[in-house]
């Protein structure tokens, strides 16, 4: 949900050693569905079901799609928008995350992208510019009376921080409902979740990309149930003045949390929960490990 161009809605299927490997692009990310079934037709149908759900969520919650809910909210010009049940659930979730993170996570902080660039060679923004943008950030300024949401004119919401993990969970629900007996793995741009029974090998072998360099070997994680999500990554950061600026920004300051890990990967029952834990860990900076250690989840924190 971060690039304006329409993604290609192509779907490809390959056979690999132990499963079928379905590919498509959604939410500007390469997505895959690994299916441990015998025939190609079933694998293609499973991939299609997951892809259609991903594309549906992308259209509905993209800031750029005029037909979508987020576009309607952001362009209401200070008027109230009545949300459907699913959109209201996502906004309510954002509201909870804002409250629980004490404002660090904020679905109105997307406007910071106007100041921050994370391409190679980019430099950190002018603090004055960030300060200016902070004026239009703050969930407390929104009027949220479910199902009615009103944003002050000039403010925007962005569900990019939770949409991809939500899409993974929804796709897994689809697969679990349609093919409960087929082991599958849904992976949208590195956030993933297991569907169906344990695969024949006992677990899915998942590689987590090293945040240090693309050349360094990926770590292998064996996942037999549940989900993995990662926050922070190898490419979306910049170096300036001898320090590293990651792309997870604290909505209260407009800057990355000092002392944040380079990346955090969390295993949890659902992708949404794993993603929430990993994002919050990034926002807690030096306390990331202490927070994760108290959650009784497996995590991999890279500094």
């Amino acid at each position: 949900m971060s690039k304006p161009e329409l993604p290609s809605r192509e779907l490809t299927l390959h056979r690999s050693a132990r499963h079928w490997d379905g590919h498509f692009t959604a939410m500007a990310n390469p997505c895959e569905v690994l299916c441990q079934c015998d025939d190609a037709a079933t694998a293609r149908e499973m991939t299609r079901r997951a892809a259609e759900e991903a594309w549906r969520i992308e259209s509905k919650f993209s800031r750029y799609r005029p037909e979508g809910v987020v576009f309607a909210i952001n362009n209401a010009g200070g008027r109230s928008t009545v949300l459907d049940e699913e959109s209201a659930r996502l906004i309510a979730y954002g509201d909870e995350l804002w409250r629980l993170s004490e404002g660090r996570f904020d679905i109105t902080s997307g406007v910071l992208r106007r100041a921050w660039r994370f391409e190679p060679g980019a430099i950190p923004p002018d603090p004055a510019r960030v300060g200016e943008l902070l004026q239009s950030i703050g969930w407390s300024k929104a009027h949220w009376h479910p199902p009615n949401l009103t944003l002050p004119a000039g403010m925007e919401i962005d569900l990019g921080g939770i949409g991809k993990e939500y899409a993974v969970d929804r796709a897994v629900e689809m697969l679990n409902a349609g093919w409960p007996q087929i082991p599958a793995l849904v992976n949208f741009g590195g956030d993933l979740r297991v569907s169906g029974p344990v695969p024949r090998e006992g677990a899915w072998n998942v590689g987590i990309e090293s945040p240090v360099s693309a050349e360094q070997a990926a770590r292998a994680v064996q996942l037999s149930a549940g989900a993995l999500a990662t926050s922070g990554d190898a490419r979306r950061h910049i170096w300036a003045n001898g320090r590293r600026y990651g792309h997870i920004l604290d909505a209260r300051t407009g800057w990355p949390t000092p002392g944040a890990p380079r990346s955090v990967t969390v295993a949890a029952a659902t992708c949404s929960l794993a993603g929430t834990f990993s994002t919050l860990a990034m926002l807690l900076g030096t306390d990331a490990e202490a927070f994760l250690a108290s959650q009784n989840v497996r995590y991999w924190c890279l500094r």
Partner: protein, 424 residues
Amino acid sequence: MQLKKFASLGGALAAATCGLLGSQPSVASAAGEEAGWQSDTSLLYYGESDSRVTDVSLRTALRRAWDDGSKLSGSLTLDSLTGASPTGAVPTDSVQTFTRPSGKGQYTIGSNEQPLDDTFKDTRIALTANWDQPLGDAMRYGVGLTFSTEYDYRHMGANGRFEHDFNQRNTTLQVGMAYARDSIDPVGGAPIGLHPMKGQGDSSSKLGNDSKSVIDLLIGVTQVVSRRSLLDLSYTYSRAGGYLNDPYKLLTVVDNTGRPVGVDPYLYESRPDARAKHGLFSEWRYAFDEDSLALSYRYMFDDWGIKSHTLEGRYRWNFDERTYLEPHLRYYMQSAADFYRTYLESGATLPVNASSDYRLADLDAWTAGIKFAHKTSLGEFSARLEYYRQTANPQPGGVGLLNTYDLVPPLTAIIGQIGYRLNF
């Protein structure tokens, strides 16, 4: 944010996610990884019938794996061997007297009994250390050291291996080599081949210690054949040089009635001082919906004239995710070494090399067993029970009295093992 608040924060986040997704799945996440510590401890019992050799072996291994795929592992094995081992001499119809290998003492074997040396008692300590490291995405290498010591034998070795994945990881090529240098310091000295066993205090047939070296080379390929099956193929070459005799093995020189002849009828065995061995190995592994099967065949031949075939199969029967039962069946057959002699005949020309070690004879062996394993939150427990039976043929054409004996009696053994593996 206060640390003590974190625990309740997690609960609140989980509840919020629950609200988002409608309901929470019943299964929690089950993520493991290679990284971390693993310990593996096992106790093995090997007992041959008729109170021959008994080995009780305790092995403990520790492995540490890191996130980047590198691994450090080490193991310690303690073996305690006791019992009686065939000397290689043949039975006869009178009492036979043998000098103990130390040269200090004698023992006698009753008439019509197979000569066994009951002084067989040793404790062995073996250590290994290995380091494995990925090289990028598709390559790995490993290096290792091995060491073992027992009363009369010391082994030191080093090994290295390299693997490369090709063809979208459907093909893996392996090459490996190992070098070992062993020193042998037999009780009472290393006997000179085909020299007579002398009486107490006479060491004229013995020299001091000796040594051997072994080089092993391996080249192999693992190929994914289909979604369910894998094929392993490899070739091994092994070259040993130096003192390759068993210093405690004898041959009886018999007269034309089949009885030991002369004053010193027992000669120490003599094997060539080099051995080149070639092996071809293939294994096919197949995964069923729940269970799996592995079948392998190995062909070996060496320049001692031994050719062997091994057929082996294992079927892993998974009851559930935590428990399996694995029946195992193995058949082994080999032809005798060119210089294998059950005994030597007086008057005939003495061969250059001769050994009556039954392990160099024409033999067949069966192993049948079953393994049970169960995983719990405290680790994986396993138990294995196997039965081994070996039958061997003496050299053809018996002489006199020897026709009345079973010169190479069958050997049976029971193998029991219990193991415990823990990841932490």
